[in-house]
Amino acid sequence: MSLKVGVTRFLGTNCDQDVRQWFSLNGHKAEYLWFEDQFNSNDYDMLVIPGGFSHGDYLRCGALAARTNVMKSVREFANKGKPILGICNGFQILCEAELLPGALLRNKDLRFIDGWQTLKVENTTNAFSKKMSVGQTIKLPIAHGEGQFYADSETLKKMVDQKQIWLTYENNPNGSMLNISGITNAKHNICGLMPHPERALFDWMGSSDGGFFL
């Protein structure tokens, strides 16, 4: 079934074209949603907030983007229980907008890290795990300076109980609590992850495990 996917575009978003390519290759129709404009939730089946350096990552990653006009519509879309995927900077924006719990801090070694990671699938109750099975490992690339997931102990406990931990690192590269690489909200319709599935579609890219997401 061909989906209509909204892909947000902030000043400084870099992975919008990559995400659009990913969805097109899977037979879906992806459209850009400009940060200054609101949109009608009924016009889209799914939303993706791609990676990049929105607003230069200034002040805090995702902080300035989270407070733009388009996010008002994103919030409405979320409240309707429709699926949203935040990738890397997109994950940071969703946390800043409080659509996902916790925050992403600077990597523990204080450096940007680019590399391949083996991830473990912890839960599959969300719209982006239809081809995954619990316990499966997948190989995806990361490229981020602020990927250390933090939440207070109460929040973490709730997340564990409500099966909100989606993906974990086998070799934690950034100090994330509980080795968290990807999470969902309590309703399981909003997902965020630091690795880039749109960069793992073919063997020549280094892995085709992005194929497990759609």
Binding site: L11, G12, Q21, F53, G56, D114, P141, E198, R199, G206
Partner: protein
């Protein structure tokens, strides 16, 4: 009066002879505003006055490389309605002063040279030269430069896919930071040129506001560092990659909408160079009111504004009817655009300060009339060439210990994994690969990128080193199945007013010209950085080279690492030049060399290029292939190890002394296979038209590194040292 003149000449870095020339060109004394104009445009960096007569030798072009004289970057037509633009540039002096911003603005500057032509930047690479790791400030400089490249490159959204990091004590006081960028024109994408045209058209300034960044910057790039370096507090140019990203998107959008007549980025000498060069190229005039320039600091004088090197600014020409949409497009991307003036038919650049005319001058009196010096040089004679090589006496343990602790043997993963290598979802290789491959969006072919120039070889002999700067990366590209298409260069040298430096420059240029013509890969763009010296210490002459190439696909690129244990390692060797460069470099000594000039290196490279296709077609079982680098077969095998796989040379390679295991021969490659006889037979037949040696040198192992029956390395300890951060 004389004192005044002397002071002026010193401030504006002009010689007495240049001043006399200016007076005779103008027929009068230069007006106050004309001093900074001449200072900037006649600086070495902008005018190429010491190199121009030699750069003319790079005139070879072919059907893929249209002549685009004087454009910002060179363009290669790839067929299938795809083109690329590419160029390399230096930012050496600013990086030595403030490494993070120096390197960052270097990356920003070369990006602008690419997208100012309408190409979307798709690959970044860098070429770095540092001094001794323990030299003063060096560790901070290294960390700063890498951080600058990474923070700028990652934010702007262009993958950093390739790089080369070199170390030599002669860079202790003058590091080199060269940045390269490749841009893509897909079907229907329009190329923008920089020649102004159309009297009545608007001259429009777009991008960041102008501040005091880098005033006197272009002249700074052309002056050598003296003891005052530490106390100089220049207005460091700050690069903002976020702004650059906005500029890229906005510029490409207005070009797509056909709103632009011409465009030029404001780089070295900012508004001065962009306005005068656009006018001179178009052979038209411009009227510009400097009071209309958007300012960050309202106290700036006209001279400050003209010389400012604030980053992320462009100058463009547009028809008046298109200005409104253009302005709205830039506004959408949060950028300013201001009309500074207009194009006029009369070939004069009129700079105004409100109603006051500061100058009304023919741009060619500055741009075209820049001096062209014939700096004295001597015809090249190799000083280190010998009839027979003497083997240095070394011990395995000692030499490897020295190499591992000195950067001569390091994986540099700690550098590469600070770079975003995969944004764009087109990168097919890891940054630490010798050759980078990106998938071309429309045709799906692989675009190859590699950089070259090995300072230790340059020190041995500038002419051989310059040939090697082109041949070696071309060879590495060929082994991965890519054909070299074009060359860009960044010629980093010391003081051209010294005969020995100029001689190395001319010898290098001549060698690059010859190598590029033989490989049928024209030199289509480039940059010259002179005066890389401190007091009287010059750097090793470093003509850095960038190559682009083409491969049919990005699939099945043969890896650089051992793939399986218990496979055979074969060496295919062409003996053009022999030396002990690597061993000598560890003792800070210059190597001597023996050469066989009758050897046809380009023919070998061409054969290597088709090897990939032949192997596939004949279904030959080959697992890995890698060019042998400095340090010979042993160092190369060490670089091919993984966390699980090692090698054993003891049963196959019989060096006469320890030195033989690290001997440098240009050029050879290693190939691994489980089918020794089949592959040996295939290679012998394939290379039968040239004098190569083909021998089995060893076997891959599981976690063992054995060089001779007496010498073995601790596998885990080696891996740890090899990957450690310097």
């Amino acid at each position: 009066m004389i004192n005044d003149l002397e002071k002026k000449l010193k401030t504006y870095r002009l010689s007495v002879e240049e001043y006399e020339k200016i007076k005779s060109l103008l027929g009068r004394e230069p007006a106050p505003i004309e001093w900074p104009l001449y200072s900037a445009l006649w600086s070495e960096h902008c005018s190429y006055k010491s190199s121009k007569i030699h750069l003319r030798k790079f005139s070879y072009r072919n059907e893929r490389t249209p002549l685009m004289d004087g454009e910002n970057a060179g363009v290669v037509d790839l067929g299938f309605d795809e083109k690329i633009a590419f160029k390399m540039e230096s930012h050496n002096h600013p990086s030595f002063i403030e490494p993070v911003q120096g390197a960052a603005t270097g990356v920003g500057g070369i990006l602008r040279d690419i997208f100012t032509m309408g190409a979307r930047p798709i690959m970044s690479a860098n070429y770095l030269c540092f001094g001794d790791v323990d030299a003063p400030r060096m560790k901070d400089l290294m960390k700063g430069v890498v951080h600058g490249i990474s923070s700028y490159g990652n934010c702007v959204g262009v993958p950093t896919v390739n790089g080369q990091t070199n170390f030599h004590p002669r860079y202790n006081k003058n590091i080199l930071v060269n940045a390269l960028n490749v841009g893509y024109f897909g079907p229907g994408m329009k190329m923008a040129l920089s020649n102004a045209s159309g009297p009545g058209n608007y001259v429009v300034y777009v991008g960041a506001k102008t501040g005091r960044d880098g005033v006197h910057g272009a002249s700074m790039a052309s002056a050598s560092f003296d003891d005052d370096s530490e106390s100089k507090k220049p207005n460091v140019q700050i690069g903002d990659p976020f702004y650059e990203k906005l500029l890229i998107e906005a510029c490409l959008e207005v070009l797509e909408k056909n709103l632009v007549v011409a465009m030029q980025d404001m780089g070295a000498a900012g508004l001065t160079s962009s306005s005068f060069e656009m006018a001179s190229k178009g052979q038209v005039g411009l009227v510009i009111d400097l009071k209309k320039v958007p300012l960050r600091d309202s106290t700036m004088s006209p001279e400050d504004i003209l010389l400012s090197e604030s980053q992320e600014r462009m100058l463009l020409i547009c028809e008046p009817k298109n200005f409104d949409v253009l302005h709205k497009t830039f506004k959408k991307w949060n950028l300013d655009s201001a009309i500074l003036g207009e194009v006029q038919a009369q070939k004069k650049v009129k700079l105004m300060w409100g109603p006051e005319v500061l100058t009304d001058i023919d741009p060619d009196l500055i741009v075209e009339s820049a001096p062209r010096y014939e700096r004295p040089y001597t015809k090249w004679t190799p000083k280190n060439k010998v009839a027979e090589l003497t083997r240095p006496t070394i011990q395995f343990a000692e030499i490897l210990k020295k190499a591992l602790s000195s950067s001569k043997l390091n994986r540099f993963t700690w550098i590469y994994n600070q770079y975003d290598q995969r944004v764009g979802a087109k990168t097919a290789t890891a940054c630490e690969s010798a050759v980078a491959f990106t998938r071309l969006e429309h045709s799906g072919r692989g675009l190859a990128l590699a950089v070259g120039c090995r300072p230790d070889v340059m020190e041995m002999d500038a002419q051989i080193g310059a040939y090697d700067a082109v041949y070696y990366p071309a060879f590495q590209m060929a082994l991965k199945g890519a054909e070299v298409l074009a060359v860009t260069d960044c010629l980093n040298f010391g003081n051209p007013q010294k005969n020995e430096i100029m001689s190395e420059f001319v010898a290098s240029v001549d060698a690059i010209v010859d190598a590029s013509e033989q490989l049928k890969a024209p030199v289509i763009s480039g940059n010259v950085s002179f005066y890389n010296e401190t007091i009287t210490e010059n750097i090793v002459s470093t003509p850095a080279i960038g190559l682009v190439g083409l491969r049919d696909t990005v699939e099945d690129i043969r890896p650089d690492y051992f793939q399986n244990p218990f496979e055979m390692i074969l060496e295919v060797k062409l003996n053009w030049v022999e030396s002990f460069t690597w061993i000598n470099s560890l003792g800070n000594k210059t190597s001597s060399f023996k050469s066989y000039p009758e050897i046809n290196v380009p023919k070998f490279i061409q054969l290597c290029k088709n090897l990939d296709t032949e192997i596939k077609a004949k279904k030959i079982k080959v697992s890995a292939i890698k060019a042998v680098g400095l340090g010979g077969i042993t160092t190369t095998c060490l670089k091919m190890t993984t966390s699980e796989l090692g090698f054993d040379l003891s049963n196959d390679y019989q060096g006469v002394t320890a030195a033989d295991y690290f001997k440098d021969t240009f050029y050879s490659f290693l190939i691994t296979t489980s089918e020794l006889e089949e592959v040996r037979k295939f290679l012998k037949s394939y290379f039968n038209s040239i004098p190569v040696e083909i021998l089995k040198i060893g076997e891959t192992t599981q976690k063992i590194i054995r060089i001779t029956s007496e010498f073995q390395l601790d596998f885990d300890q080696f891996q740890k040292q090899f990957k450690q951060e310097i």
